[in-house]
Protein backbone atom coordinates (compact mmCIF):
# COMPACT_ATOMS: atom_id res chain seq x y z
CA UNK A 1 0.00 0.00 0.00
CA UNK A 2 2.76 2.43 0.86
CA UNK A 3 4.97 3.92 -1.72
CA UNK A 4 8.43 2.54 -1.10
CA UNK A 5 10.49 4.79 1.09
CA UNK A 6 7.82 6.27 3.37
CA UNK A 7 8.46 3.60 5.97
CA UNK A 8 11.71 2.05 7.07
CA UNK A 9 11.94 -1.26 5.20
CA UNK A 10 10.87 -4.30 7.19
CA UNK A 11 13.29 -6.46 5.26
CA UNK A 12 16.23 -5.93 7.56
CA UNK A 13 19.34 -8.05 7.75
CA UNK A 14 18.14 -9.45 11.07
CA UNK A 15 15.12 -11.07 9.45
CA UNK A 16 17.23 -12.47 6.66
CA UNK A 17 19.63 -14.14 9.08
CA UNK A 18 16.79 -15.42 11.21
CA UNK A 19 14.95 -16.94 8.25
CA UNK A 20 18.14 -18.33 6.75
CA UNK A 21 19.12 -19.91 10.07
CA UNK A 22 15.63 -21.41 10.39
CA UNK A 23 15.93 -22.84 6.90
CA UNK A 24 19.35 -24.35 7.50
CA UNK A 25 18.43 -25.84 10.88
CA UNK A 26 15.22 -27.20 9.40
CA UNK A 27 17.08 -28.65 6.44
CA UNK A 28 19.61 -30.37 8.67
CA UNK A 29 16.81 -31.78 10.83
CA UNK A 30 15.06 -33.15 7.74
CA UNK A 31 17.99 -35.43 6.93
CA UNK A 32 19.05 -36.28 10.49
CA UNK A 33 15.71 -37.19 12.10
CA UNK A 34 15.02 -40.93 12.07
CA UNK A 35 11.30 -40.45 12.43
CA UNK A 36 9.80 -39.59 9.05
CA UNK A 37 7.02 -37.42 10.52
CA UNK A 38 9.57 -35.31 12.40
CA UNK A 39 11.50 -34.90 9.14
CA UNK A 40 8.34 -33.81 7.37
CA UNK A 41 7.60 -31.22 10.05
CA UNK A 42 11.14 -29.87 9.82
CA UNK A 43 10.65 -29.63 6.06
CA UNK A 44 7.47 -27.61 6.62
CA UNK A 45 9.42 -25.19 8.82
CA UNK A 46 12.02 -24.84 6.08
CA UNK A 47 9.39 -24.17 3.44
CA UNK A 48 7.66 -21.55 5.58
CA UNK A 49 10.96 -19.79 6.22
CA UNK A 50 11.54 -19.86 2.49
CA UNK A 51 8.19 -18.14 2.01
CA UNK A 52 9.46 -15.49 4.40
CA UNK A 53 12.55 -15.03 2.25
CA UNK A 54 10.35 -14.51 -0.81
CA UNK A 55 8.50 -11.83 1.12
CA UNK A 56 11.81 -10.13 1.86
CA UNK A 57 12.52 -10.12 -1.87
CA UNK A 58 9.26 -8.18 -2.40
CA UNK A 59 7.63 -11.17 -4.06
CA UNK A 60 4.48 -11.63 -1.94
CA UNK A 61 2.62 -13.57 -4.60
CA UNK A 62 5.37 -16.19 -4.79
CA UNK A 63 5.40 -16.36 -0.99
CA UNK A 64 1.64 -16.91 -0.85
CA UNK A 65 1.74 -19.60 -3.52
CA UNK A 66 4.66 -21.23 -1.70
CA UNK A 67 2.59 -21.48 1.51
CA UNK A 68 -0.54 -22.74 -0.25
CA UNK A 69 1.15 -25.27 -2.52
CA UNK A 70 4.11 -26.57 -0.56
CA UNK A 71 3.25 -26.13 3.10
CA UNK A 72 -0.51 -26.52 2.75
CA UNK A 73 -0.83 -28.96 -0.13
CA UNK A 74 2.18 -31.10 -0.90
CA UNK A 75 3.33 -31.55 2.69
CA UNK A 76 -0.14 -32.67 3.72
CA UNK A 77 0.04 -35.39 1.07
CA UNK A 78 3.54 -36.27 2.30
CA UNK A 79 2.24 -36.66 5.85
CA UNK A 80 -0.74 -38.59 4.52
CA UNK A 81 1.60 -41.17 2.99
CA UNK A 82 4.09 -41.21 5.86
CA UNK A 83 1.37 -41.86 8.42
CA UNK A 84 0.45 -45.06 6.63
CA UNK A 85 4.00 -46.40 6.85
CA UNK A 86 4.87 -48.43 9.91
CA UNK A 87 7.12 -46.03 11.81
CA UNK A 88 8.45 -48.72 14.14
CA UNK A 89 10.07 -50.66 11.32
CA UNK A 90 11.54 -47.65 9.59
CA UNK A 91 13.05 -46.51 12.91
CA UNK A 92 15.11 -49.70 13.08
CA UNK A 93 16.40 -49.47 9.55
CA UNK A 94 19.78 -47.95 8.92
CA UNK A 95 19.42 -44.45 7.58
CA UNK A 96 22.74 -43.81 5.88
CA UNK A 97 24.83 -45.68 3.37
CA UNK A 98 28.61 -45.45 3.12
CA UNK A 99 28.90 -42.67 0.58
CA UNK A 100 29.94 -39.91 2.93
CA UNK A 101 33.29 -39.43 1.15
CA UNK A 102 31.63 -38.66 -2.17
CA UNK A 103 29.08 -36.56 -0.35
CA UNK A 104 31.74 -34.41 1.31
CA UNK A 105 33.59 -33.96 -1.99
CA UNK A 106 30.39 -32.92 -3.76
CA UNK A 107 29.42 -30.51 -0.98
CA UNK A 108 32.92 -28.99 -0.89
CA UNK A 109 32.88 -28.56 -4.68
CA UNK A 110 29.52 -26.81 -4.56
CA UNK A 111 30.68 -24.59 -1.70
CA UNK A 112 33.84 -23.73 -3.60
CA UNK A 113 31.76 -22.83 -6.63
CA UNK A 114 29.62 -20.49 -4.55
CA UNK A 115 32.69 -18.77 -3.10
CA UNK A 116 34.27 -18.52 -6.56
CA UNK A 117 31.15 -16.91 -8.01
CA UNK A 118 30.90 -14.52 -5.10
CA UNK A 119 34.52 -13.37 -5.28
CA UNK A 120 34.88 -13.22 -9.06
CA UNK A 121 35.13 -9.75 -10.54
CA UNK A 122 34.74 -8.84 -14.17
CA UNK A 123 36.31 -5.52 -15.14
CA UNK A 124 36.61 -4.64 -11.48
CA UNK A 125 32.89 -5.19 -10.88
CA UNK A 126 31.61 -8.09 -8.77
CA UNK A 127 29.05 -10.36 -10.41
CA UNK A 128 26.47 -9.39 -7.83
CA UNK A 129 24.99 -5.89 -7.91
CA UNK A 130 25.99 -3.68 -5.01
CA UNK A 131 22.45 -2.81 -4.01
CA UNK A 132 19.05 -4.33 -4.30
CA UNK A 133 16.53 -2.93 -6.71
CA UNK A 134 13.31 -1.80 -5.02
CA UNK A 135 10.06 -2.79 -6.61
CA UNK A 136 6.69 -1.65 -5.45
CA UNK A 137 5.15 -4.58 -3.62
CA UNK A 138 1.85 -4.32 -5.42
CA UNK A 139 3.48 -4.88 -8.80
CA UNK A 140 4.52 -8.45 -8.03
CA UNK A 141 1.26 -10.21 -8.90
CA UNK A 142 0.67 -8.06 -11.97
CA UNK A 143 4.31 -8.47 -12.96
CA UNK A 144 4.07 -12.25 -12.93
CA UNK A 145 0.83 -12.10 -14.89
CA UNK A 146 2.32 -9.85 -17.57
CA UNK A 147 5.40 -12.08 -17.84
CA UNK A 148 3.11 -15.03 -18.43
CA UNK A 149 0.14 -13.76 -20.36
CA UNK A 150 0.88 -10.36 -21.86
CA UNK A 151 0.75 -10.23 -25.63
CA UNK A 152 4.07 -8.40 -25.96
CA UNK A 153 6.06 -9.14 -22.81
CA UNK A 154 4.75 -12.62 -22.07
CA UNK A 155 7.74 -14.76 -22.86
CA UNK A 156 7.20 -17.58 -20.35
CA UNK A 157 3.80 -18.81 -21.47
CA UNK A 158 5.22 -21.75 -23.42
CA UNK A 159 7.51 -22.91 -20.60
CA UNK A 160 4.62 -22.59 -18.15
CA UNK A 161 2.31 -24.71 -20.30
CA UNK A 162 5.02 -27.32 -20.89
CA UNK A 163 5.53 -27.59 -17.12
CA UNK A 164 1.81 -28.06 -16.56
CA UNK A 165 1.76 -30.71 -19.31
CA UNK A 166 4.59 -32.52 -17.50
CA UNK A 167 2.57 -32.48 -14.28
CA UNK A 168 -0.49 -33.77 -16.14
CA UNK A 169 1.57 -36.66 -17.54
CA UNK A 170 2.80 -37.44 -14.04
CA UNK A 171 -0.76 -37.46 -12.67
CA UNK A 172 -2.00 -39.77 -15.43
CA UNK A 173 1.03 -41.99 -14.92
CA UNK A 174 0.32 -42.24 -11.20
CA UNK A 175 -3.29 -43.23 -11.88
CA UNK A 176 -2.23 -45.82 -14.49
CA UNK A 177 0.36 -47.33 -12.15
CA UNK A 178 -1.96 -47.38 -9.14
CA UNK A 179 -5.02 -48.83 -10.83
CA UNK A 180 -4.94 -52.27 -12.40
CA UNK A 181 -8.11 -51.71 -14.37
CA UNK A 182 -9.28 -48.29 -15.41
Amino acid sequence: MNPVGTNPPVATAFFFYMLAATMIIGGVLVITRKNAVHSAMALITTLLAQAGLYLMLYAPFVAGVQIILYAGGIMVLFLFVIMLISIERSLKERQFNKQWLIGIVAAAALGGLFIAVYTTTTKGQPLFPAGRMFYGESQNTQGIASLLFDRYTGTYMFAFEIASLLLLVAIIGAVVMAKKRI
Binding site: M1, V37, M41, A71, G73, L79, F80, M83, E137, T141
Partner: protein
Protein backbone atom coordinates in the same frame (compact mmCIF):
# COMPACT_ATOMS: atom_id res chain seq x y z
CA UNK B 1 6.09 11.43 26.48
CA UNK B 2 4.82 14.24 24.27
CA UNK B 3 6.33 12.61 21.22
CA UNK B 4 4.66 9.36 22.12
CA UNK B 5 1.24 11.01 22.31
CA UNK B 6 1.94 12.70 19.00
CA UNK B 7 2.88 9.32 17.55
CA UNK B 8 -0.43 7.90 18.74
CA UNK B 9 -2.41 10.87 17.45
CA UNK B 10 -0.64 10.94 14.10
CA UNK B 11 -2.47 7.78 13.07
CA UNK B 12 -5.94 9.12 13.84
CA UNK B 13 -5.87 11.59 10.95
CA UNK B 14 -4.73 9.07 8.37
CA UNK B 15 -7.12 6.91 6.42
CA UNK B 16 -4.92 3.83 6.39
CA UNK B 17 -4.92 0.60 8.33
CA UNK B 18 -2.47 0.58 11.27
CA UNK B 19 -0.25 -1.82 9.36
CA UNK B 20 -0.44 0.39 6.27
CA UNK B 21 0.48 3.47 8.29
CA UNK B 22 3.28 1.52 9.96
CA UNK B 23 2.05 2.59 13.40
CA UNK B 24 3.16 -0.07 15.87
CA UNK B 25 1.05 1.23 18.77
CA UNK B 26 -2.24 1.12 16.92
CA UNK B 27 -1.34 -2.18 15.27
CA UNK B 28 -0.89 -3.68 18.75
CA UNK B 29 -4.21 -2.18 19.88
CA UNK B 30 -5.97 -3.64 16.85
CA UNK B 31 -4.38 -7.06 17.35
CA UNK B 32 -5.54 -7.10 20.98
CA UNK B 33 -9.02 -5.92 19.98
CA UNK B 34 -9.34 -8.61 17.32
CA UNK B 35 -8.05 -11.26 19.72
CA UNK B 36 -10.44 -10.26 22.50
CA UNK B 37 -13.31 -9.89 20.05
CA UNK B 38 -12.66 -13.33 18.63
CA UNK B 39 -12.50 -14.96 22.04
CA UNK B 40 -15.78 -13.32 23.05
CA UNK B 41 -17.30 -14.40 19.73
CA UNK B 42 -16.19 -18.00 20.31
CA UNK B 43 -17.66 -17.96 23.82
CA UNK B 44 -20.92 -16.49 22.53
CA UNK B 45 -20.94 -19.00 19.68
CA UNK B 46 -20.54 -21.87 22.15
CA UNK B 47 -23.63 -20.75 24.06
CA UNK B 48 -25.63 -19.92 20.94
CA UNK B 49 -24.87 -23.22 19.26
CA UNK B 50 -26.04 -25.25 22.23
CA UNK B 51 -29.11 -23.09 22.70
CA UNK B 52 -30.16 -22.94 19.04
CA UNK B 53 -29.50 -26.65 18.44
CA UNK B 54 -31.54 -27.42 21.54
CA UNK B 55 -34.45 -25.30 20.37
CA UNK B 56 -34.28 -26.92 16.93
CA UNK B 57 -34.61 -30.29 18.63
CA UNK B 58 -37.36 -29.02 20.99
CA UNK B 59 -35.14 -29.08 24.07
CA UNK B 60 -34.25 -26.30 26.46
CA UNK B 61 -30.46 -26.55 26.26
CA UNK B 62 -28.30 -25.23 29.10
CA UNK B 63 -30.53 -23.61 31.72
CA UNK B 64 -28.76 -24.06 35.04
CA UNK B 65 -25.65 -21.87 35.11
CA UNK B 66 -26.89 -18.31 35.01
CA UNK B 67 -30.23 -17.18 33.54
CA UNK B 68 -30.96 -19.28 30.45
CA UNK B 69 -27.50 -20.84 30.80
CA UNK B 70 -25.76 -17.58 29.87
CA UNK B 71 -22.79 -18.34 32.11
CA UNK B 72 -22.45 -21.93 30.86
CA UNK B 73 -19.50 -21.21 28.50
CA UNK B 74 -17.57 -19.61 31.37
CA UNK B 75 -18.27 -22.61 33.59
CA UNK B 76 -17.12 -24.86 30.75
CA UNK B 77 -13.93 -22.87 30.26
CA UNK B 78 -13.08 -23.09 33.96
CA UNK B 79 -13.79 -26.82 33.93
CA UNK B 80 -11.54 -27.36 30.92
CA UNK B 81 -8.68 -25.38 32.44
CA UNK B 82 -8.88 -27.33 35.70
CA UNK B 83 -9.03 -30.74 34.06
CA UNK B 84 -6.03 -33.05 34.16
CA UNK B 85 -3.82 -32.73 31.13
CA UNK B 86 -3.20 -36.24 29.84
CA UNK B 87 -0.55 -37.20 27.30
CA UNK B 88 -0.87 -40.86 26.34
CA UNK B 89 2.18 -42.95 27.24
CA UNK B 90 2.66 -44.22 23.70
CA UNK B 91 2.15 -40.81 22.11
CA UNK B 92 4.85 -38.87 20.31
CA UNK B 93 5.23 -36.24 23.05
CA UNK B 94 6.74 -33.39 21.03
CA UNK B 95 4.36 -33.63 18.09
CA UNK B 96 1.40 -34.18 20.43
CA UNK B 97 2.39 -30.98 22.22
CA UNK B 98 2.91 -28.88 19.09
CA UNK B 99 -0.20 -29.94 17.12
CA UNK B 100 -2.83 -27.81 18.95
CA UNK B 101 -0.61 -24.75 18.67
CA UNK B 102 -0.28 -25.17 14.90
CA UNK B 103 -4.07 -25.25 14.59
CA UNK B 104 -4.59 -22.22 16.84
CA UNK B 105 -1.82 -20.21 15.18
CA UNK B 106 -3.22 -20.91 11.72
CA UNK B 107 -6.75 -20.03 12.82
CA UNK B 108 -5.80 -16.74 14.47
CA UNK B 109 -3.12 -15.51 12.06
CA UNK B 110 -5.58 -15.15 9.18
CA UNK B 111 -7.38 -12.34 11.03
CA UNK B 112 -4.42 -10.07 10.26
CA UNK B 113 -6.01 -9.23 6.90
CA UNK B 114 -9.74 -9.49 7.66
CA UNK B 115 -11.24 -6.09 6.76
CA UNK B 116 -13.82 -5.03 9.34
CA UNK B 117 -13.94 -1.64 7.68
CA UNK B 118 -12.03 0.48 5.16
CA UNK B 119 -9.47 1.29 7.85
CA UNK B 120 -10.44 -1.31 10.44
CA UNK B 121 -8.06 -4.11 9.61
CA UNK B 122 -4.76 -4.89 11.26
CA UNK B 123 -3.09 -4.52 7.91
CA UNK B 124 -3.88 -4.73 4.25
CA UNK B 125 -1.71 -7.08 2.22
CA UNK B 126 -1.73 -7.00 -1.54
CA UNK B 127 -1.97 -10.81 -1.43
CA UNK B 128 -4.69 -10.71 1.27
CA UNK B 129 -6.99 -13.46 0.02
CA UNK B 130 -4.04 -15.65 -0.98
CA UNK B 131 -2.61 -15.19 2.52
CA UNK B 132 -5.90 -16.16 4.13
CA UNK B 133 -6.31 -19.29 2.03
CA UNK B 134 -2.67 -20.27 2.53
CA UNK B 135 -2.51 -19.82 6.27
CA UNK B 136 -5.89 -21.42 6.89
CA UNK B 137 -4.75 -24.40 4.81
CA UNK B 138 -1.93 -24.87 7.33
CA UNK B 139 -4.41 -25.85 10.02
CA UNK B 140 -4.82 -29.24 8.38
CA UNK B 141 -1.19 -29.93 9.28
CA UNK B 142 -2.07 -29.51 12.95
CA UNK B 143 -5.02 -31.87 12.63
CA UNK B 144 -3.00 -34.50 10.80
CA UNK B 145 -0.10 -34.38 13.24
CA UNK B 146 -2.51 -34.44 16.20
CA UNK B 147 -4.10 -37.59 14.87
CA UNK B 148 -0.79 -39.24 14.16
CA UNK B 149 0.92 -38.26 17.41
CA UNK B 150 -1.89 -39.71 19.52
CA UNK B 151 -0.72 -43.16 18.35
CA UNK B 152 -4.19 -44.58 18.49
CA UNK B 153 -6.57 -45.89 15.85
CA UNK B 154 -9.49 -43.51 15.93
CA UNK B 155 -7.41 -40.33 15.84
CA UNK B 156 -5.32 -41.71 12.98
CA UNK B 157 -8.41 -42.51 10.91
CA UNK B 158 -9.83 -39.10 11.74
CA UNK B 159 -6.60 -37.40 10.66
CA UNK B 160 -6.52 -39.35 7.39
CA UNK B 161 -10.10 -38.39 6.61
CA UNK B 162 -9.40 -34.78 7.52
CA UNK B 163 -6.36 -34.44 5.29
CA UNK B 164 -8.12 -36.06 2.32
CA UNK B 165 -11.20 -33.90 2.82
CA UNK B 166 -9.47 -30.58 3.32
CA UNK B 167 -7.10 -31.02 0.39
CA UNK B 168 -9.98 -31.97 -1.93
CA UNK B 169 -12.25 -29.09 -1.00
CA UNK B 170 -9.46 -26.53 -1.13
CA UNK B 171 -9.41 -26.99 -4.92
CA UNK B 172 -13.07 -26.13 -5.45
CA UNK B 173 -12.75 -23.28 -2.95
CA UNK B 174 -9.77 -21.84 -4.82
CA UNK B 175 -11.64 -21.91 -8.15
CA UNK B 176 -14.59 -20.05 -6.67
CA UNK B 177 -12.23 -17.45 -5.20
CA UNK B 178 -10.41 -16.96 -8.51
CA UNK B 179 -13.71 -16.20 -10.26
CA UNK B 180 -14.24 -13.34 -7.80
CA UNK B 181 -10.73 -12.06 -8.35
CA UNK B 182 -11.53 -11.94 -12.07
CA UNK B 183 -14.55 -9.78 -11.25
CA UNK B 184 -12.40 -7.27 -9.36
CA UNK B 185 -10.51 -6.50 -12.57
CA UNK B 186 -13.54 -4.95 -14.26
CA UNK B 187 -12.45 -1.32 -13.98
CA UNK B 188 -10.85 1.30 -16.19
CA UNK B 189 -7.32 0.09 -15.65
CA UNK B 190 -8.49 -3.56 -15.80
CA UNK B 191 -6.21 -4.47 -12.92
CA UNK B 192 -7.63 -6.87 -10.39
CA UNK B 193 -6.59 -7.12 -6.78
CA UNK B 194 -6.00 -9.84 -4.20
CA UNK B 195 -6.19 -7.40 -1.29
CA UNK B 196 -9.19 -7.97 0.99
CA UNK B 197 -9.87 -4.24 1.30
CA UNK B 198 -9.34 -3.87 -2.45
CA UNK B 199 -11.95 -6.55 -3.18
CA UNK B 200 -14.60 -4.76 -1.11
CA UNK B 201 -13.64 -1.43 -2.69
CA UNK B 202 -14.07 -3.04 -6.11
CA UNK B 203 -17.61 -4.04 -5.13
CA UNK B 204 -18.22 -0.50 -3.92
CA UNK B 205 -16.88 0.95 -7.19
CA UNK B 206 -18.99 -1.39 -9.31
CA UNK B 207 -22.01 -0.67 -7.13
CA UNK B 208 -22.85 -4.33 -6.83
CA UNK B 209 -22.02 -7.19 -4.47
CA UNK B 210 -20.22 -9.95 -6.31
CA UNK B 211 -22.90 -12.47 -5.36
CA UNK B 212 -25.19 -10.64 -7.83
CA UNK B 213 -22.52 -10.05 -10.44
CA UNK B 214 -23.16 -11.74 -13.83
CA UNK B 215 -26.25 -13.42 -12.39
CA UNK B 216 -26.20 -16.39 -11.78
CA UNK B 217 -22.40 -16.79 -12.02
CA UNK B 218 -21.63 -14.94 -8.80
CA UNK B 219 -24.32 -16.88 -7.01
CA UNK B 220 -22.91 -20.23 -8.19
CA UNK B 221 -19.44 -19.25 -7.06
CA UNK B 222 -20.84 -18.24 -3.70
CA UNK B 223 -22.59 -21.59 -3.35
CA UNK B 224 -19.43 -23.52 -4.20
CA UNK B 225 -17.54 -21.55 -1.58
CA UNK B 226 -20.31 -21.88 0.98
CA UNK B 227 -20.25 -25.68 0.64
CA UNK B 228 -16.47 -25.97 0.51
CA UNK B 229 -16.01 -23.76 3.56
CA UNK B 230 -18.15 -26.07 5.69
CA UNK B 231 -16.00 -28.99 4.57
CA UNK B 232 -12.82 -26.98 5.21
CA UNK B 233 -13.78 -26.33 8.80
CA UNK B 234 -14.77 -29.97 9.44
CA UNK B 235 -18.29 -29.06 10.46
CA UNK B 236 -21.55 -30.96 10.03
CA UNK B 237 -22.57 -32.37 7.58
CA UNK B 238 -18.91 -32.80 6.61
CA UNK B 239 -17.61 -33.56 10.12
CA UNK B 240 -16.26 -36.99 9.21
CA UNK B 241 -12.87 -36.39 10.87
CA UNK B 242 -14.65 -36.26 14.22
CA UNK B 243 -17.68 -38.41 13.46
CA UNK B 244 -18.64 -39.31 17.03
CA UNK B 245 -20.69 -42.37 16.10
CA UNK B 246 -17.74 -43.96 14.29
CA UNK B 247 -14.53 -42.44 15.64
CA UNK B 248 -15.36 -41.37 19.23
CA UNK B 249 -14.09 -37.83 18.65
CA UNK B 250 -11.80 -38.28 15.67
CA UNK B 251 -8.43 -36.61 15.65
CA UNK B 252 -8.74 -35.09 19.13
CA UNK B 253 -9.89 -38.23 20.93
CA UNK B 254 -6.75 -38.39 23.07
CA UNK B 255 -6.70 -34.69 23.91
CA UNK B 256 -8.07 -33.38 27.18
CA UNK B 257 -8.35 -30.19 29.16
CA UNK B 258 -6.55 -27.13 27.88
CA UNK B 259 -5.18 -28.76 24.73
CA UNK B 260 -8.64 -29.91 23.72
CA UNK B 261 -9.98 -26.42 24.33
CA UNK B 262 -7.33 -25.09 21.94
CA UNK B 263 -8.76 -27.31 19.20
CA UNK B 264 -12.21 -26.03 20.08
CA UNK B 265 -11.06 -22.42 19.93
CA UNK B 266 -9.32 -23.01 16.62
CA UNK B 267 -12.36 -24.70 15.09
CA UNK B 268 -14.65 -21.81 15.90
CA UNK B 269 -12.23 -19.07 14.93
CA UNK B 270 -11.60 -20.92 11.65
CA UNK B 271 -15.36 -20.89 11.07
CA UNK B 272 -15.39 -17.13 11.66
CA UNK B 273 -12.37 -16.74 9.36
CA UNK B 274 -13.88 -18.57 6.38
CA UNK B 275 -17.18 -16.76 6.92
CA UNK B 276 -15.24 -13.48 6.78
CA UNK B 277 -13.75 -14.56 3.46
CA UNK B 278 -17.22 -15.33 2.09
CA UNK B 279 -18.57 -12.00 3.36
CA UNK B 280 -15.65 -10.05 1.94
CA UNK B 281 -15.68 -11.72 -1.45
CA UNK B 282 -19.37 -12.02 -2.19
CA UNK B 283 -21.43 -10.06 0.31
CA UNK B 284 -19.73 -6.69 0.10
CA UNK B 285 -17.71 -6.86 3.31
CA UNK B 286 -18.41 -3.81 5.42
CA UNK B 287 -20.83 -2.22 2.93
CA UNK B 288 -24.40 -1.76 4.08
CA UNK B 289 -27.23 -3.58 2.27
CA UNK B 290 -29.01 -2.05 -0.75
CA UNK B 291 -26.32 0.40 -1.83
CA UNK B 292 -28.18 1.08 -5.10
CA UNK B 293 -31.90 0.81 -4.48
CA UNK B 294 -31.83 2.74 -1.21
CA UNK B 295 -29.08 5.31 -1.72
CA UNK B 296 -28.79 8.90 -0.59
CA UNK B 297 -28.23 10.68 2.71
CA UNK B 298 -31.59 9.83 4.21
CA UNK B 299 -31.10 6.12 3.74
CA UNK B 300 -27.49 6.38 4.97
CA UNK B 301 -28.87 7.92 8.14
CA UNK B 302 -31.56 5.25 8.49
CA UNK B 303 -29.04 2.44 8.08
CA UNK B 304 -26.66 4.07 10.55
CA UNK B 305 -29.30 3.54 13.28
CA UNK B 306 -29.15 -0.24 12.85
CA UNK B 307 -26.24 -0.97 15.24
CA UNK B 308 -27.98 0.83 18.09
CA UNK B 309 -31.35 -0.71 17.24
CA UNK B 310 -29.83 -4.20 17.26
CA UNK B 311 -28.45 -3.73 20.75
CA UNK B 312 -31.76 -2.26 21.90
CA UNK B 313 -33.50 -5.35 20.50
CA UNK B 314 -31.12 -7.59 22.47
CA UNK B 315 -31.85 -5.51 25.58
CA UNK B 316 -35.59 -5.83 24.96
CA UNK B 317 -35.26 -9.62 24.68
CA UNK B 318 -33.37 -9.62 27.97
CA UNK B 319 -36.02 -7.51 29.72
CA UNK B 320 -38.81 -9.67 28.30
CA UNK B 321 -37.18 -12.78 29.72
CA UNK B 322 -36.46 -11.02 33.00
CA UNK B 323 -40.17 -10.48 33.35
CA UNK B 324 -40.81 -14.15 32.50
CA UNK B 325 -38.34 -15.52 35.08
CA UNK B 326 -39.93 -17.68 37.79
CA UNK B 327 -41.04 -15.55 40.76
CA UNK B 328 -39.30 -17.77 43.30
CA UNK B 329 -36.76 -16.45 45.83
CA UNK B 330 -34.20 -18.95 44.46
CA UNK B 331 -34.26 -17.18 41.07
CA UNK B 332 -33.84 -13.70 42.55
CA UNK B 333 -30.13 -13.34 41.73
CA UNK B 334 -30.58 -14.78 38.25
CA UNK B 335 -33.45 -12.38 37.52
CA UNK B 336 -31.41 -9.41 38.69
CA UNK B 337 -28.42 -10.56 36.68
CA UNK B 338 -30.43 -10.90 33.50
CA UNK B 339 -31.96 -7.46 34.07
CA UNK B 340 -28.52 -5.95 34.58
CA UNK B 341 -27.24 -7.66 31.40
CA UNK B 342 -30.17 -6.20 29.50
CA UNK B 343 -29.43 -2.76 30.97
CA UNK B 344 -25.79 -2.98 29.84
CA UNK B 345 -26.86 -4.00 26.33
CA UNK B 346 -29.39 -1.17 26.24
CA UNK B 347 -26.74 1.31 27.37
CA UNK B 348 -24.42 0.14 24.57
CA UNK B 349 -27.32 0.56 22.17
CA UNK B 350 -27.91 4.13 23.38
CA UNK B 351 -24.22 4.98 23.03
CA UNK B 352 -24.32 3.70 19.45
CA UNK B 353 -26.94 6.35 18.59
CA UNK B 354 -24.49 9.20 19.30
CA UNK B 355 -23.44 10.55 15.86
CA UNK B 356 -19.71 10.25 16.61
CA UNK B 357 -20.06 6.56 17.55
CA UNK B 358 -22.68 5.91 14.87
CA UNK B 359 -20.39 6.90 12.02
CA UNK B 360 -17.46 4.84 13.28
CA UNK B 361 -19.09 1.51 14.05
CA UNK B 362 -21.33 1.20 10.99
CA UNK B 363 -18.85 -0.76 8.90
CA UNK B 364 -17.79 -3.05 11.75
CA UNK B 365 -21.45 -3.68 12.54
CA UNK B 366 -22.43 -4.68 9.00
CA UNK B 367 -19.40 -6.94 8.63
CA UNK B 368 -20.06 -8.66 11.94
CA UNK B 369 -23.77 -8.98 11.20
CA UNK B 370 -23.07 -10.75 7.91
CA UNK B 371 -20.54 -13.06 9.56
CA UNK B 372 -23.09 -13.76 12.30
CA UNK B 373 -25.53 -14.82 9.59
CA UNK B 374 -23.03 -17.40 8.42
CA UNK B 375 -22.45 -18.62 11.95
CA UNK B 376 -26.20 -19.17 12.27
CA UNK B 377 -26.12 -21.13 9.01
CA UNK B 378 -23.40 -23.37 10.46
CA UNK B 379 -25.62 -24.20 13.43
CA UNK B 380 -28.59 -24.66 11.15
CA UNK B 381 -26.67 -27.13 8.95
CA UNK B 382 -25.69 -29.06 12.03
CA UNK B 383 -29.27 -29.27 13.16
CA UNK B 384 -30.60 -30.19 9.72
CA UNK B 385 -28.33 -32.31 7.55
CA UNK B 386 -27.29 -35.90 8.26
CA UNK B 387 -23.58 -36.63 7.96
CA UNK B 388 -22.18 -37.57 4.57
CA UNK B 389 -20.55 -40.93 3.97
CA UNK B 390 -16.91 -40.63 2.97
CA UNK B 391 -17.37 -41.73 -0.65
CA UNK B 392 -20.29 -39.30 -0.98
CA UNK B 393 -18.08 -36.55 0.39
CA UNK B 394 -15.39 -37.26 -2.19
CA UNK B 395 -17.97 -37.48 -4.95
CA UNK B 396 -19.41 -34.08 -4.06
CA UNK B 397 -15.97 -32.55 -3.90
CA UNK B 398 -14.38 -33.95 -7.01
CA UNK B 399 -17.29 -34.76 -9.32
CA UNK B 400 -19.69 -31.91 -8.57
CA UNK B 401 -17.94 -28.90 -7.07
CA UNK B 402 -14.69 -29.11 -9.03
CA UNK B 403 -16.23 -29.34 -12.56
CA UNK B 404 -18.78 -26.67 -11.64
CA UNK B 405 -15.97 -24.47 -10.37
CA UNK B 406 -13.95 -24.92 -13.56
CA UNK B 407 -16.96 -24.16 -15.75
CA UNK B 408 -17.75 -21.14 -13.59
CA UNK B 409 -14.21 -19.81 -13.92
CA UNK B 410 -14.24 -20.12 -17.72
CA UNK B 411 -17.72 -18.62 -18.02
CA UNK B 412 -16.82 -15.71 -15.74
CA UNK B 413 -13.74 -14.99 -17.82
CA UNK B 414 -15.74 -15.14 -21.06
CA UNK B 415 -18.53 -12.91 -19.77
CA UNK B 416 -16.08 -10.44 -18.26
CA UNK B 417 -14.17 -10.14 -21.54
CA UNK B 418 -17.18 -10.35 -23.86
CA UNK B 419 -16.65 -7.02 -25.63
CA UNK B 420 -12.98 -7.71 -26.30
CA UNK B 421 -13.77 -11.27 -27.42
CA UNK B 422 -16.48 -10.00 -29.73
CA UNK B 423 -14.10 -7.46 -31.26
CA UNK B 424 -11.49 -10.17 -31.78
CA UNK B 425 -14.01 -12.48 -33.41
CA UNK B 426 -15.16 -9.74 -35.77
CA UNK B 427 -11.55 -9.07 -36.64
CA UNK B 428 -11.08 -12.74 -37.54
CA UNK B 429 -14.25 -13.16 -39.56
CA UNK B 430 -14.25 -9.81 -41.33
CA UNK B 431 -10.62 -8.85 -41.79
Amino acid sequence: MHEFIQYIQSYLDSNLTPGGAGNIFWATVYILLVFVGLSVAVIAMNWLERKILAHMQVRLGPMRVGPHGLLQPIADAIKLLLKEDIIPAEADKLVFWIAPFIVVLAAFTVFVVVPFGPTHAITDMNIGILFMLGVSSLSVLGIVTAGWASNSHYPLIGALRSSAQMVSYEVAMGLAVVSVILMTSLNDQSTGTLSMIGIVQAQMAQGEWFIFKFFPLGLIGFFIFAIAMVAETNRAPFDLPEAESELTAGFHTEYSGFRWSLFFLAEYSAMIAVSSIAVTLWLGGWLRPFPNALSGHTWDLVFSFFPGLTFLLFAAICFYNTARMPKHPLFKIQTMGLGAFGAVLGLIGMVLFIPAARDRVGDIFWFSAKVAGFMYLYIWYRGTFPRYRFDQLMKVGWKVLLPTGLALLILTAVVAMRTELWAELQGVWRP
